[in-house]
């Protein structure tokens, strides 16, 4: 690995949904301010794994983890860790754009408002900054008070990214962020990811091999709840070590 610090780590991580063993003994270390892509066939556990980093699985009945997830070296599954504090640090963007049925402005500042920030000037500044960072400002600056639901799918997804950026996290989790979008919107999201990795550590789940190849620095291949292979994206796509990885990235299954 390079000299950069490890932002996120998993140590001997197992996860269960009731009796189902969803993640098996995962060990991985992800570098700061880099893009790591999780690939693998449906049901391989990559989304489940992504959601352990901001503990989004906590609300699922019967879900439990063993082992450790470290954020900046600290175990986020310790009792004293407050989930709301964790999620200020680790933002998330979902597969389907999920703007709140409120105005564009209200969407962006939602995270700040629930932290109790009320000052209009602070909120306005944060909204503009986040929308600029999400490459959406020019398109929406004149209609911030309009409903977010009136935006196109691609714009909605960038709004969701802006919303996540507004609470200034250091990590951004993206669960197939472009899979519900058309090619042009997808290209915009990918460009954005490329920009954002200057400031954020990004973990992205994707079904799209080309996308993983284009946007990520590192790639992790999951299969049946196991981490099969983890390497620099270039190395992984040109000379995979494991036969299963090779079969998957050449499209022989999945």
């Amino acid at each position: 690995m390079s000299k950069k610090q490890n932002k996120l780590e998993a140590l001997n991580l197992d996860a269960y949904y009731g009796d189902f063993h969803a993640l098996k003994g995962i060990n991985i270390a992800m570098e700061e301010k880099a893009v790591t892509a999780f690939i693998g066939p449906s049901g391989c556990g990559k989304s489940t794994f992504l959601r352990t980093f901001n503990r989004m699985n906590d609300y699922i009945d019967g879900f439990r983890v063993e082992g450790q997830i470290l954020l900046d070296g600290k175990d986020i599954y310790q009792k004293e860790v407050r989930v709301d504090e964790l999620r200020k640090e680790v933002g998330m963007v979902f597969q389907k754009p999920n703007p709140f049925p409120k105005s564009i402005f209200e969407n962006v500042v939602y995270g700040l408002k629930i932290q109790g920030i009320k000052k209009k000037s602070v909120l306005e500044e944060a909204a503009e900054q986040s929308l600029r960072n999400a490459a959406l400002w020019e398109e929406v600056k004149d209609k911030l008070d309009k409903s977010a639901l009136a935006l196109s799918g691609g714009q909605q997804q960038r709004l969701c990214i802006a919303r996540a950026l507004a609470i200034s996290p250091s990590v951004l989790l993206m669960d197939e962020p472009a899979s519900a979008l058309d090619p042009i919107s997808t290209a915009k999201i990918e460009e954005l990811i490329y920009e954002l990795k200057n400031d954020y550590t990004i973990v992205i789940v994707t079904h799209n091999m080309q996308q993983a190849g284009r946007v990520s620095d590192y790639t992790a291949f999951f299969y049946m709840g196991e981490l099969v292979e983890f390497n620099k994206t270039k190395t992984m796509f040109t000379s995979p070590k494991d036969e299963r990885t090779q079969n998957y990235i050449t499209g022989r299954f999945g």
């Binding site: 504090e85 709140f100 049925p101 939602y110 629930i114």
Partner: protein
């Protein structure tokens, strides 16, 4: 005849049968309405609305009855709305989905089907006797609240269930607590549905006579109630009382009172439909 001919015939037959079934309900209701309107509309005038009850049919009015109905409506809303919505939110958002939850769910659905007179008996024992409220507006409103609580709980849960998981996820992912998510996202998004359920429940409560008669509401109240602890009557009781009189003139009075009660009910239902449509236009997931 080939097989597909027979199938087509069956299809046609069911269509005719379906139209017939639909019309039976509508026609019967229509005839009833027309009959009531023809009978009652001549009696409907300002005096009828503002006169106190009387032994003489021509001088009797429904002032105390409709004022009582409005009182009951407002008090029942104040009591049942927060209780029902809070219970619905708890069951849907907080309660664990286990056997206990299942048990509660089935029983709440059962409660919605309990005959209203049973609620009347419950109200008589608890509110009238134990809590010594007597045959007061408050006792009546509490009884009707019990009656409509299950309906409000069930419709609240349905409305909350219709809010997509992704909205909650989005809120949680930004660091919101469960309560913040419920308050800022789930309730605003489901409010139209909840309100619709409450109004429909209220329109049921407005038409109830049996439970109120059981708790001792009177047919003859010579004054309009001014506090929740006053005795009262409501339109359905007044109607019930008049229809059981032998004189023809009282039947005409009853028909006129039915028109007033129907107007109140249709008004409530109209508001419910309006709110539902408005909500549907506002929120497209």
């Amino acid at each position: 005849m080939t097989n597909s001919d027979i199938n087509r015939l069956k299809d046609k037959a069911f269509q005719v049968f379906g139209v017939f079934c639909t019309f039976i309900g509508l026609v019967v209701l229509g005839i009833f309405l027309i009959d009531i309107i023809i009978e009652g509309v001549q009696r409907l005038n300002w005096d009828f609305l503002v006169n106190l009850p009387s032994r003489r049919a021509s001088r009797a009015g429904i002032l105390t009855a409709w004022v009582g109905t409005l009182w009951i409506l407002v008090l029942t809303t104040i009591i049942a709305f927060p209780l029902g919505v809070a219970a619905g939110v708890y069951l849907e958002e907080y309660g664990k989905k286990n056997k206990m939850a299942n048990f509660l769910e089935i029983n709440i659905a059962n409660l919605a089907g309990v005959p209203s007179i049973i609620y009347g008996l419950l109200g008589l024992e608890i509110f009238v006797r134990q809590m010594r409220l007597g045959g007061s507006l408050l006792a009546g409103a509490l009884t009707l609240s019990l009656l409509i609580l299950p309906i409000i709980i069930v419709t609240t849960r349905e409305a909350i269930k219709a809010v997509p998981r992704s909205i909650r996820d989005g809120s949680f992912a930004l660091g919101a607590s469960k309560w913040q998510t419920v308050w800022h996202q789930v309730l605003p998004a489901s409010f139209g549905g909840i309100l619709t359920g409450i109004i429909l429940a209220l329109s049921r409560a407005v038409g109830e006579a049996a439970p109120l008669i059981v708790i001792g509401a009177l047919a003859y109240v010579p004054f309009t109630p001014s506090t929740p602890l006053d005795e009262f009557t409501v339109l359905p009781i007044q109607i019930f009382n008049w229809t059981s009189r032998p004189q023809e003139a009282f039947l005409t009075n009853a028909a006129a009172a039915i028109i007033v009660l129907l107007v109140i009910t249709f008004l409530l239902n109209g508001i419910a439909v309006y709110l539902r449509n408005k909500q549907q236009r506002k929120v497209r997931w």
